[in-house]
């Protein structure tokens, strides 16, 4: 009797399970986008990572954005009407806003979104300097806008005026800089600079980070640890999509079906779901089963299943047949850093020991095998390049000598021998890592490679940290000698990665290496006010070489992003430069049979 009941129950379960697979979506066009991490806070002032940015740039408006398809990346006006008017000396920027409205929300007096004004822009940038905001973006404008730092220090009085940040009228913002800052417009395309309505910030208080209200193309419906659901913002009104202006190239983009979207008003979706799936296996399964999400950024482990070959990169025929594909490089890099402030391996007062330490760092660099790292962890899809100017930038130097990234254990042994390093004398190295399977395996690989040049494995100590915050703290406090660092460029300018070595940025700043080279600092300062051009590129390249010569880092590798999506989705996904702007241009259409 019992068995019969169970059988009936199983049948019922099976029936139900087959009944709900597939079928038309009742809510209109829905796109389910998968990203590989969970955003912390949706308050633009905290949106420093790609996960938060993906949502923030779609819920809020930024003054500028990047063109959808143009590569190299090109800025385009977004909430701003046009590019700013810049004074002769490069210090005063005048920006006109276009007409826009915040989405409807109970935070507004009558529940109806009001027009966005220049005062909102002033408020949104200014609040980064109010300590209560706990901003993660203030550093972008620190010491750069006249009176802004002082305003924050003096109690962030909402009534007080900031000389360098003013609303001239409802639609005009004036920014006065302390010194020329050519990257200012880039920072105004970052999610951190997005425009928030003061009413909502006041109304929701701390909850603003989960109840975001903005003037972007979408509006948040719900949010939990696994997904965010968005609907179009009814007030969002921009001129129709102009594919040509966005950089459409029939040769590169012709097969994505984007032409059908040209001239239409965006956003196109009735519902946008962003799923947060950190585990590579589940992300892939959710996509490949065709049931849960519509896209996937390929976990490298998956490469064997979808790729016929990695060099050149060829997909399997079945993948080409079933899915749309896009291959691009990340706008970031992965590198190892030394803590130069530790006299055991970094700078040393004694010139001879200083030279020996330099040789030691270079030996460790030679011992490290980037090709093996690339093969094992990135399926050979990454690109290894010398220094910190990644290939997607104009300043990249393709013919830079590669000895800094070549695996050369013999040379490493030679260097150690030349400077009298013996197994007994070699210092204990603390290798910091975040607790995860992959990071642990990377450590074991590194240690084995160092063992091959005679570095005793017991002298490579592992210090594991449970969270990125803990790991970051340990690096800042100089508790680790060797650390792996991922650095994503928030704007396409080598200055963003070179700042990692700028002396005044030393820990707790971004210069986690505690690199201190007066020659570098001087050249970095000279490059700062320069606009993009040959003079600046030459300086950037000099800076890159300085870092390489000092063996302060081991690197770098830039990862290849392989995107797959279902052909009914018309888009070109690109989350690089901390973005997510493409989501407004996504449409879902069944392809013609």
């Amino acid at each position: 009797m019992f068995i019969r009941q169970t059988r009936a129950l199983i049948c019922l379960l099976l029936l139900l399970s087959t009944a709900c697979g597939g079928g038309a979506d009742p809510e209109g066009t829905v796109y389910r986008h998968a990203i590989d991490g969970v955003p912390g806070s949706l308050d633009p002032a905290h949106a420093a990572d790609v996960y938060a940015s993906t949502l923030v740039v779609n819920i809020f408006d930024t003054l500028y954005r990047y063109r959808y398809l143009a590569r190299p990346y090109e800025l385009a006006p977004n909430l701003a009407e046009d590019f700013p008017e810049v004074s002769e000396d490069g210090r005063v920027f005048t920006i006109r806003l276009r007409a826009a409205r915040f989405a409807d929300d109970p935070a507004f007096a009558d529940g109806r979104g009001r027009p966005v004004t220049a005062a909102d822009v002033v408020f949104s940038l200014r609040r980064h300097f109010d300590p209560a905001t706990r901003s993660q973006g203030a550093w972008l404008w620190r010491d750069r806008i006249v009176g802004l730092d002082a305003w924050g220090r003096d109690g962030a009085d909402p009534q007080a005026e900031v000389a360098g940040l003013q609303a001239l009228d409802d639609r005009t913002v004036r920014i006065e800089l302390t010194r020329p800052y050519p990257q200012l417009v880039n920072t105004l395309a970052m999610a951190l600079s997005a425009i928030v309505p003061p009413e909502a910030v006041a109304h929701y208080g701390r909850e603003f980070s989960v109840r975001p209200v903005g003037s972007g193309p979408f509006q948040l419906l719900s949010l939990d640890e696994t997904r965010a659901v968005l609907k179009p913002n009814a007030h969002f009104d921009r001129e129709p999509l102009d594919l040509t202006a966005e950089g459409f190239d029939p040769d590169r983009h012709g097969h994505y079906g984007l032409e059908a979207l040209d001239g239409r008003r965006y956003p196109f979706l009735d519902r946008l779901e962003v799923h947060f799936i950190a585990e590579p296996a589940t992300r892939w399964n959710s996509f490949f089963s065709g049931r849960d999400v519509d896209n996937v950024m390929l976990p490298p482990e998956q490469a064997v299943r979808v790729l016929e070959s990695t060099h050149p990169l060829v997909f399997r025929p079945q993948i080409e047949r079933d899915f749309q594909t896009h291959v691009g490089r990340e706008t970031g890099l992965v590198l190892y850093g030394f803590n130069m402030a530790n006299p055991e391996i970094g700078y040393h007062a004694d010139p001879e020991r200083d030279r020996a330490n330099h040789a030691l760092r270079c030996a460790i660099r030679d011992a490290f095998d980037w090709a093996a790292r690339n093969r094992v962890f990135y399926q050979g899809l990454g690109e290894v390049f010398p220094g910190v100017i990644p290939p997607f930038l104009d300043e990249y130097e393709p013919d830079l000598p590669t000895e800094s990234i070549d695996h050369d254990p013999a040379l490493a042994r030679q260097r150690l021998a030349d400077h009298g390093w013996t197994a007994e004398q070699l210092p204990v190295l603390v290798y910091g890592l975040e607790s995860s399977v992959e990071r642990r395996q990377m450590f074991e690989q590194f240690r084995a490679q160092l063992a091959a040049i005679g570095y005793p494995p017991e002298k490579i100590r592992r210090a594991a940290f449970g969270s990125f915050g803990e790991y970051h703290r340990a690096i800042i406090n100089g508790q680790v000698d060797l650390f792996l660092l991922g650095w994503t460029l928030a704007y396409p300018d080598a200055q963003y990665s070179l700042q990692l070595f700028f002396g005044p940025n030393a820990a707790p700043g971004a210069n986690l290496f505690n690199y201190a080279n007066p020659e570098f600092d001087e050249a970095f300062r000279r490059a700062e006010p320069l606009p993009q051009g040959p003079e600046r590129s030459a300086l950037y390249r000099d800076l890159n070489r300085l870092v390489l010569d000092d063996c302060a880092m081991i690197g770098s590798l830039t990862r290849t992003r392989v995107h797959l999506w279902h052909p009914r989705v018309r888009m070109l996904p690109d989350r690089e430069v901390l973005g997510g702007y493409f989501l407004r241009f996504v449409d879902v259409q069944e392809p013609p049979a």
């Binding site: 590579p280 296996a281 094992v376 395996q441 494995p457």
Partner: protein, 292 residues
Amino acid sequence: MSSLVVQSGRRLRGRLAGEPVGFLALIVVGAYALVACGVWLGWWGSEWSALAGPGWAAPSAEHWLGTNRLGQDILARALAATATAFEIGVLVAVVTTAIGGLAGGLSGYFSDGWPDEVLLWLMGTLDAIPFYLLVAALAFALHGHPWAMHLAMIATFWTTTARLVRAETQRIRRLPFIEAARVAGLLPRSIIVRHILPNTAHILLVQATLVFIAAIKVEVVLSFLGIGTQDSISWGVMIAEGAQDILAGQYGNFVVASLFLFGLVMAFSLFADQLQDSLDPRTQDSRWQPHG
């Protein structure tokens, strides 16, 4: 007194000989222990972290069970992990039993006195914190400490042993020979250590085996969550690696580690059953929550 221990030992031998399952289980556990000894003596498994070959190699004469992603020998890792399992299991079991026994003895001997109150409060407190929350928080709190995970497990496991010993002590306390010892002027400390605890040996022994099993299983979960063993290899680490390998269609690491784990836990469980049947048939099984 000690005659009880001898008696139960004899009973155990008799029972085990008559029970093929228990006997077989003991042999399997012995085989695992041999493997672990071999690792400690450096006979095998010492090269578990060496990059010995190409990544994800199929089983071959050189690598009997193939290699993992990095090209490390899976067999060497599984063998080395056996030693780790014993280290964790034995250490946690011994310390847990010692603490649990002493606390239980104290608490039971002084029941209705303040030591009992305090200990009961402490046990209640530890039991009321969700298991994984406490273990994870402790493991995190002591992060970087090589014994972090062990301490976390001991801190949470000892209460069960203590409760069982406490109940037994309360019973023994009323027996005439304890009464006699007290009249003879023995201090409570020596009464507990010399007279009461030896008579709870059956409980302690069974509890120790159960803690051994629980420790090994919990290690797997903690390592899977990323807060497990520090700089050594364990089945939990292998399973966590293996779960990622599955993505690339590589099952070796996962299957080997799972089977090694299953074999030891299964054999030890059957052995523990026999032990319990023969030594302590009255006490209810304390294994009532799946911890791992």
